[in-house]
Amino acid sequence: MSPADNTSRRHFLRASALATAGLLGSGVLFPGERLLAATTLAGDPGDPEVPNEEVARILRGLFGDRPIRRGHIQLDMPAAAEDGRVVPVIIESDLPMTPERHVKAVHLIVDFNPDAHLAAFHLTPAVGTVSLSTRIKMKRSTWVRAIAETNTGEVWADYARVQVLLNGCG
């Protein structure tokens, strides 16, 4: 797919998601859910849409109405994972780790996994920097979200789209 196609497809997806949100806005969702959907859809260009109520509920529970901005955290994952049972994850951040200002938690959310809020890493300034790596299971191709929350209430995210060839969740 050419970059131009990709852009127009993205615009199309965004437009249809907005249309869907608009339709749902006619009373099917609770006001808070409508607000969250609107906030997230109005996020940085290229951010993945919230795909289902489960992920919306997780994000709302963790971050409330705070904006989830892209930046200051880096999520590295393979673009294609042969085996969904073992998918490497590396999370790093350039945010300070001082008592005054630090990352207090990093949340890993895998949109279409059975348990989408896969892990939470609670940190203190003693770790010096945010540099985490582990291996996770993925059921199918989806977006993965790494979202950092600072002690001052900022929320920073990065996203990785991972294509999964072998279902790792059964």
Partner: protein, 111 residues
């Protein structure tokens, strides 16, 4: 890795006071999701590490909450500011309440 709960923590051999070190840890655990069945069709219940507490000296420096979405024999690496000579301990707790512990000593090379 073989026996359930067998864990290792790896830290650098030579550490200088104040250095930022990388800590690598692995524990043997099946991390069963509860979605699979045996060849005989019996469901395999969920069985996974749900909580990991990292202490350096007497301070809790990190705590991880996991689900069965973390791969079998979970590995985790993170950094630590090595500013005192003290044990680094990790406690893994699974959803059946079994507790596994391991520690590594943070000691500095003499200048």
């Amino acid at each position: 890795m073989s026996a359930l709960g067998e864990a290792r923590i790896r830290v650098p051999e030579r550490i200088i006071r104040g250095e930022l070190i990388v800590v690598n840890a692995i524990i043997s655990h099946p991390m069963d999701t509860g979605f699979f069945r045996t060849a005989e069709g019996q469901p395999i219940p969920a069985y996974f590490i749900k909580n990991v507490v990292v202490r350096y000296g007497d301070q809790e420096v990190a705590r991880f909450e996991w689900t069965s979405g973390v791969s079998r024999d979970p590995v985790i690496s993170f950094t630590l500011r090595a500013d005192s000579e003290a044990p680094l301990s990790m406690v893994w707790t699974d959803n059946k309440g079994d507790v596994f512990e391991q520690s590594a000593n943070i000691a500095f090379v003499s200048a």
